[in-house]
């Protein structure tokens, strides 16, 4: 029955988004509980539906039959039976439930050798920090394969919820120092790009607060870190774009070690999967975004800058050329 259920659910949905195609031990353990509970519940449903079907077929009033059925008061045996059996079923479910609840819960501090990252929710983007490496990036969380990651969650404004269905269930990012949350995320054995979502209503563009988790090989991960740390805002062949960026964008967006942190860090922007988390990564979309961010993500905090067309062109070129390279 288990196998049948698993088969039934497999192949449901987008393999980078579906909870039914879990990667890594966290999502897999959550999936196993989903299957166990569903199996028990389908058993319950079957029992109810069978009795139900029998009742509806056998006990309809026949034409011309005006007799009064026996007025049964009840049955102690039956009452005990349908109290006791559900209790047993629930105990079967409750034991693994409690075990898993403790297993997946994360403590405040990560172990010495564990990779630890800090997630901060913003309206409507995600900030990812690697405290040990002093890296702060946004929208795309790069992680090494086969790693259990300790995640600290907080928010810069209101409640968001960090959810990567393929890799781990969600946990809220609460504003305020008293309500920081911690969770585990296991990257699993496959490299790939997984979709992440905000799962708590957080304003107009809640639906558009997507992010990506890029699971890469350990070597690629190390290289990415090194390149990230050595990246700068300088660009030899894009002088105009760099100038525009410095004047208009740098106060909120950082590249390399320069710049503010109220907006997403744009280091390595040229390598990103999406623009603003949702649009395909190309120049047209980037220009569209810079021209009027409110049109694409209503209610976000990036102002409309009223740049000249050629400035937009230049800054878009500049940003798209910002790739992380081996130096």
């Amino acid at each position: 029955m288990f196998a049948m259920l698993a088969l039934l659910l497999m192949g449901c949905g987008d393999p980078t988004l579906s909870t039914l195609l879990p990667q890594g031990e966290v999502a897999k353990s959550q999936y196993s509980l989903m299957v166990l509970s569903l199996a028990i519940m389908i058993f319950v449903l079957l029992v109810v539906f069978i009795i139900y079907a029998i009742v509806l077929v056998r006990f309809r009033q026949k034409k011309g039959d005006d007799s009064i059925p026996e007025q049964v008061e009840g049955s102690h045996t039956l009452e005990i039976l349908w109290t006791a059996i559900p209790i047993v079923l629930l105990i079967i479910l409750a034991v693994p439930t409690v075990i898993h609840t403790f297993n997946v819960s994360a403590k405040e501090k990560a172990g010495k050798n564990e990779l630890s990252i800090k997630v901060t929710g913003h309206q409507y983007w995600w900030q990812f920090e690697y405290p040990k490496d002093e890296i702060a990036t946004a929208q795309e969380l790069v992680l090494p394969v086969n790693t259990k990651v300790h995640v600290e969650l907080t928010s810069a404004d209101l409640i968001h919820s960090f959810w990567v269905p393929s890799l781990a269930g969600k946990t809220d990012t609460n504003p305020g120092d008293h309500n920081k949350n911690y969770m585990w995320l296991d990257t699993g054995s496959k490299t790939g790009v997984y979709k992440g979502k905000c799962a708590e209503l957080c304003g107009a563009s809640h639906a558009l607060m997507d992010f990506k988790v890029k699971v890469v090989s350990k070597e690629d991960y190390e290289a990415w870190k090194t390149n990230f740390k050595s990246a700068t805002a300088k660009s030899a062949d894009q002088a105009q774009g760099q100038e525009v960026f410095k004047k208009n964008c740098l106060s909120c967006h950082a590249i390399g070690k320069e710049g503010g942190s109220t907006g997403p860090n744009l280091t390595g922007f040229g390598d990103k999967e999406k623009i603003a988390g949702i649009l395909d990564h190309n120049k047209d979309n980037l220009k569209k975004w810079i021209r009027d961010p409110q049109k694409i993500k209503p209610g976000n905090n990036m102002p409309k800058l009223n740049l000249q067309d050629d400035d937009i062109e230049a800054v878009a070129d500049y940003l798209l050329k910002m790739k992380l390279e081996n130096k």
Partner: protein, 614 residues
């Protein structure tokens, strides 16, 4: 007590505005609740149209958030709640053999407070935008929401909440004090029992909501910092307070529906309810446990594994008494002679649907798995299975069943069955796919979704289902309109009823029972019929019947609060003071004017009895 000779029959509109008669208040609740049900339904249709394809732009993101907030708030507080109160008013006093509720004046006040709360909330559409923080109103989204939408939410709910609370107290007192001789607690029909437990839940669940709303109001209007972490507040306080109210609220809604289903299943199987005492015990237990499980709405808020485990097990425990109910309904039908009237169809449709909502409830009780389910469309599917598949299907069963008693008319059975099948199939088509949408990674409360995520087909099916539900609802309203042309022949017992509400002729006399009936057991009317009696045995001689006078004061008290709320929203002290002054003046008048009511004289009652009117 003197008889006021001045009692004159009011007519038309004035009668409805001043009535304190539980039967008329029941109709008022039904009509107002039905109206809000349509408004909430239209909001739902807009949302489903927006979501029928990816990246649709039928409504804006901001508008969608208003729609989802208003749909939830309207359906819970201004559709489901009043519809439940409609049947409680129409049925409970009759089922216990009473002439009215304990406090008829308060009953009217409860209705008008609810009504003006609903008008208040919906006025926001016309006054700068509806609330957009979800029906759960989580801080800081609600405290920082721009515009005055959330203020309308806070004050609308505050006013209607006061109405609900006094309504609940009224029914507690009524059921405890006004049962006919012989109607012991363990002889009360199950609808009365569930109304009783629901009223108890209201008594304990609504005060936390009141407090929470006051805090929210202070934070918005007077810059308090209960939920502001920058100034030492804590956002989790709101979540706790809201769900300490919010979870029992779910049981407040479902229990009366359980009651209606129990009456319908028993009547149309021609059998007494199987395991009556187990059913009563299960009801009380569900009500009790309902207060112990609120944290399962907050599993992902980060309370830690100990809190999550305790509340997980407590939540699972509720499945046991609920299961007891399901099996007792099934075994009530077992061995019966089932007549598939429209009311029975709804009850029969209710059982599997509610069980499906129940089992996903148990799945959601598992914290670790809930991290995946939570705030996804899986949850949306679950709570619509229990609230539409449970509460609404139960209310429809009750509507077709009690419609003759409330309106002296029957609803057309054929149209009723069309209504059932379109709504029922539409319902499953809408919400069954949503389980899978959630599991496939679709969060709830999203105004759109990007293409290329395998979410398109199921969303389309869901929208088609919603259209079918709308068709079903339209059929119901056609049915209601057609029914107005048919009057019911008096002294008929349309369903071969078992309980006291069927022991009186049509239309129900103003005083309900000419003589208070003597109750000899469970299903008292059925017992008398089986013993060969056509009527209940009276427990008292015919005499003068004391009746309460109608009053316009409840209406004005509510209008006063309605006006005062506008003062709070637009920060006008003058308007606020005027509003409160109206309310306090009405309260003063109510306190100083002696109103002894009037008597219907023995002669009139005897005449009614002779002519079969009572």
């Amino acid at each position: 007590m003197s008889t006021l000779a001045s009692h004159s029959k009011k007519s038309g509109l004035m009668d409805w505005l001043t009535t304190v008669d539980h039967k008329k208040i029941g109709i008022l609740y039904l009509v107002a609740g039905g109206l809000f049900f349509i408004i909430g339904g239209i909001e739902a249709m807009f949302m489903r149209i927006q979501l029928f394809k990816p990246e649709n732009d039928f409504v804006s993101a901001d508008m969608f958030n208003q729609l989802l907030t208003m749909h939830g708030t309207t359906m819970i507080f201004f559709a489901a709640m009043p519809l439940i109160f409609a049947f409680m008013n129409a049925v409970v006093p009759l089922q216990i053999g009473a002439r009215d509720v304990a406090f008829p004046f308060v009953n009217a006040l409860g209705f008008w407070l609810f009504f003006f709360g609903g008008v208040m909330l919906n006025a926001s559409w016309l006054l700068g935008g509806a609330p957009d923080a979800g029906w759960t109103g989580y801080a800081p989204l609600s405290t920082t929401s721009l515009g005055s939408g959330v203020d309308f939410y806070v004050l609308g709910l505050q006013i209607s909440g006061a109405g609900t609370l006094i309504g609940g107290i009224n029914f507690l007192v009524t059921i405890i004090n006004m049962r006919a001789p012989g109607m012991s607690f363990m002889r009360m029909p199950l609808f009365t029992w569930t109304s009783f437990v629901t009223s108890g839940l209201i008594l304990f669940a609504f005060p936390p909501l009141t407090i929470g709303l006051f805090m929210l109001m202070f934070e918005r209007v007077f810059d308090a910092n209960f939920f502001n972490p920058d100034n030492g507040g804590n956002i989790l306080i709101w979540e706790h307070i809201f769900w300490i109210f919010g979870h029992p609220e779910v049981y407040i809604l479902i229990l009366p529906s359980f009651g209606a289903i129990s009456e319908v299943v028993s009547t149309f199987s021609k059998k007494r309810l199987f395991g009556y005492s187990a059913m009563v015990f299960a009801t009380v237990l569900i009500g009790f446990l309902g207060f112990m499980v609120w944290v399962h709405h907050m599993f992902t808020a980060g309370l830690g594994p100990i809190a999550n485990s305790i509340f997980a097990v407590a939540t699972m425990a509720i499945a046991v008494p609920t299961g007891v109910k399901i099996f007792n309904w099934l075994f009530t039908m077992w061995g019966g002679k089932i007549v598939f009237s429209t009311a029975m169809l709804w009850a029969v449709g209710f059982i599997p649907t509610f069980v499906m909502g129940g089992v996903t409830g148990v799945m959601l009780a598992i914290p670790s798995a809930d991290y995946q389910f939570h705030d996804s469309y899986f949850v949306v599917a679950h709570f619509h299975y229990v609230i539409v598949g449970g509460v609404v299907l139960g209310l429809f069963a009750g509507l077709y069943y009690w419609y003759p008693r409330m309106f002296n008319r029957v609803l057309n059975e054929t149209l009723g069955k069309i209504h059932f099948w379109t709504f029922f199939i539409g319902f499953h088509l809408t919400f069954f796919p949503q389980h899978f949408l959630g599991l496939m990674g679709m969060p709830r409360r999203v105004f759109t979704y990007l293409s290329g995520q395998d979410l398109d087909d199921l969303n389309l099916i869901s929208t088609v289902g919603a259209l079918l539900m709308a068709v079903g609802t339209i059929v119901l309203f056609i049915n209601v309109i057609i029914s107005t042309s048919k009057k019911y022949a008096p002294s008929e017992d349309p369903w071969n009823g078992r309980t006291l509400e069927w022991a009186i002729p049509f239309p129900t006399p103003e005083y309900n029972f000419a003589q208070t009936p003597l109750v000899r057991g469970l299903d008292p009317f059925w017992l008398e019929k089986m013993a060969g009696n056509k009527k209940m045995t009276p427990a008292e001689p015919v005499g003068d019947i004391h009746m309460p006078n109608g009053s316009i004061l409840p209406l004005f008290m509510s209008i006063g609060l309605f006006v005062a709320a506008f003062g709070a929203i637009y920060k006008s002290i003058l308007v606020g003071v005027i509003g409160l002054a109206i309310t306090f003046l009405c309260m003063f008048l109510r306190s100083v004017i002696d109103d002894h009511g009037y008597h219907i004289h023995k002669k009139e009652v005897e005449e009614d009895m002779k002519e079969g009117r009572s």
